[in-house]
Symmetry: T
Subunit: 73 residues, 12 copies
C-alpha cells in the first residue's frame, strides 16, 4: 500500500541475564503472533531485587509493526 499504517503495542520482557536480553525475550515472544514488526523503543527499565543483586530485569518496549490488509487492529 502506498501509505502504510503501523500499530504500536507495549510489552514488558524479562530476563535474569541483562537489559538487552529482556528486550530480546519480549521480541521473541511477540514474533509468535505478530507479523511485520519493524522497530522498538525502550520506555522503561525496571528490575526485581533478590537480596544483593538484580534477579530479574523487566524492560518495557513499544513495538511498531505494519498493519496488513487482513489484520484485525
Amino acid at each position: 500500500m502506498s501509505n502504510p499504517v503501523y500499530k504500536m503495542i507495549e510489552l514488558t520482557g524479562t530476563s535474569p541475564v541483562s537489559i538487552d536480553d529482556a528486550v530480546q525475550n519480549a521480541i521473541k515472544r511477540a514474533a509468535k503472533t505478530v507479523r511485520e514488526m519493524k522497530w522498538l523503543e525502550v520506555v522503561e527499565i525496571r528490575g526485581r531485587i533478590d537480596e544483593d543483586h538484580v534477579g530479574q530485569w523487566q524492560v518495557t518496549v513499544k513495538i511498531g509493526f505494519t498493519v496488513l490488509d487482513d489484520d484485525e487492529d
Copy 2:
C-alpha cells in the same frame, strides 16, 4: 515459563461516583476478556462537568497482564 512476558493495554473507566470507582469499572470490564491481569498504573484523571459538579469521572489506566502461551498479542 522462566521468563514471563507481559502486555500492557490502556483503558479509560468511567463512574459518576469517584476516581477509585472509575478504575474498578475499567478492571471489571477488562476481566471479561483478559486473563492474568497483574497490575495497573493510573495515567490520566479527567471528568465531565455537569453544571456545578463532576458528573462523570474518566480515569485512564495502563493494565499489565501475563502473555500466555496460547495468547494472541
Copy 3:
C-alpha cells in the same frame, strides 16, 4: 457557533475529606462565575500534613469551558 472555542482555567480545590471532594469543591466554586464548564483534568495532587495524617487535600485541575459570544476572555 459551528466552530466552538474553549478556554481553560486552572484552579486548586481543597478539602479535609478526600481527593475527589477537593475537586468537587473547585468546580462548585467556579460554577458561581463561569458558565458552560465542560470538562476537567487533574494536574496535581498535593496535601498539607497535620502531624500523622493529611489534614487538607489540595488538588489542581484544569477546567475547560465554552467561550460564549458575550464572554470576556
Copy 4:
C-alpha cells in the same frame, strides 16, 4: 451501559501530502476493523526526508473507542 469503558490503541499513519492527511489515513485504516471510535490525540509527528523535502509524514495517534459488550479487549 451507564458506565462506558473506552480502550486506546496507538497507530502511526503516513502520507506524502501533509500532517493532517497522515492522521486521516490512520483513522481510515482503523475504521475497517474498529467500531465506535470516539477521539484521537496526536502523540508524535515525524517524517522521512527525501533529499530536500519531507517525503513521508509519519504521525502517531492514540485513538479511543468504546468497548462494546461483545468486544475482545
Copy 5:
C-alpha cells in the same frame, strides 16, 4: 514600559478543516476581547472521530499577550 509583562491564556480552537485552521479559529475568537496578542504555542492536538475520519480538530494553544497599564489580569 521598559520591562513589559506578558500574560498567557490557554484556548482550544476547533475546525472541521485542518489543524492549522483550528488554531486560526482560536486566535480569531480571542482577538475579539484580547489586545496585543504576540505569540502562541501549540500544547495539544486532539480530534473527534466521525466513523472513519476526523470530524473536528481540537487544538489547544497558549497565547501570550502584553499586559497593558489598564488591564485587569
Copy 6:
C-alpha cells in the same frame, strides 16, 4: 531559624480500600520516625489486580519536612 530547609522523602503507601487511604497509611507510618512533616505530593498511583478488581492500591508520595537543628540528613 530564619531560613528553614526542608527535606523530601519518597514513600509508597498501600491499602485495599482506596487511593486516599493508601496515602494516609504512608503518612501514618512515616510519622513514627519523622517529625515536622509539612506537605506531600502524589507522584504515582498504581495497583495490584486480583482477578477482576484492584486488590491493593499503591500510591507513591513525596513528603516534605523541616530539617531541624539536631537532624541527621
Copy 7:
C-alpha cells in the same frame, strides 16, 4: 471559608538585570489587579540575546491566589 479555592495565572516578567528581577517584575505588575497572591512557581526561563550578552531575561511564572467570594474567575 473552610475550604479555600485558589486560581493560577501564568505571567512572563522581563528584566535587563537578572532572573530574580524578572520574577519580581511579574509579581509587582500582577499586584496592581490581583489580591491575595500566595505562591509562585517558575515554569520557564528564557532570554533575548543582544550580540554577546542576555539583553532581556524573560521568566514565566505560575502565580496562585485565593479566590475570594466576590471574585470573577
Copy 8:
C-alpha cells in the same frame, strides 16, 4: 559502514502559510549544506500573532542525518 552513526541538529523553520510549510522550509534550507538527511521529528509548534491571525508559523524540528567518513561533527 556496517554500523552507521547519525547526528541530530535542531532547526526552526518559519512560514506564513502553514505548519507543514514551515517544516519544509527548514528542510530545504538545511539541504544546502547537509547531506544524507534521513528523518525529522517535530519538537515544538509556535507562531507569531498579527492582530487576529497567525502571521508566522515557527516549527522546531530535530533532523537526523548519516555521519559520513569525511564529515566534521
Copy 9:
C-alpha cells in the same frame, strides 16, 4: 574504591534574598551532616508571595554525594 556509588537526597532551601542564595542555604545546612557532597541539580523554583514581591524563594535541589564505606544509606 574503584567503582564509587553516589546517593542523591532532595532538599528545599529558602531565602528572602535570591534563587542562588536559597540553593546555598540548602547546601550549607546539608554540610552539617553529609560528607563528600559532589554536585547538585535544581529541580524546582518556587516562592512565597508577600503582597507585591517574592518574600521567600524556595528552591528544591537534588544533591549527590559519595557513599563511603562506613555510611548508612
Copy 10:
C-alpha cells in the same frame, strides 16, 4: 503488616564494564545497609568519556524497599 509501606532511595552506581554492571554495583553497595530491597527503576544513564570510549558508566536507579517496624525513615 497487612498494609506494607515502601521507601525509595536514589543511588548512582558506576562501572567501567557496562550499564548492567553499574546497576548491579549500586544494588550490591546498598545491600550492606538496607534490608528488604524489592525493586529498582533506572532513571538516568550517563557516562564519563575517556578520549574515544566510555570509561565509566554512571547509572542512577530508584530502589524500593519495605519499611520495617524498627526502621528509621
Copy 11:
C-alpha cells in the same frame, strides 16, 4: 529572506558567581564564533559542590540564531 530559518545549539556555561553569570559566560563565548544569536532557553541548572557551598554553577542553555545564506549548518 522572507522565511528565516533558525538553528539551535546547546551550551553549558559555568561560573563561581551565580546562575545568571554562568548563562552570560556561555553567551559571551558563543559570540566569538556565532553571529545573529537571537534568544536562549535555560534547560538545566546544576552545580559542583565544594564542601559547604556551590563552587561552580553549570547552566545549560539552548541558543537560537538565524541561519545566514553563507552559513554551514
Copy 12:
C-alpha cells in the same frame, strides 16, 4: 580558562550487538573530529526488528565537550 564552556551534540550510534556497544560506536566515531569529550547522557534507546530479534540497536546520546579557544561552535 577559569570558566569553561561546554557544548552538547546529539548522536545516534548503532550496533547489532548490544545497547552498550551502540553507545561506544557513537563515541568512537565522534572522537575522529571532536576533542575534549567529557561526558554523555543516553536520551533514547530504539532498535530495528529483524523478524524475531533486535537486528540493530539505535541509541541516541548527548555528548558534552569543552569548547576550546580555537573552536568553531
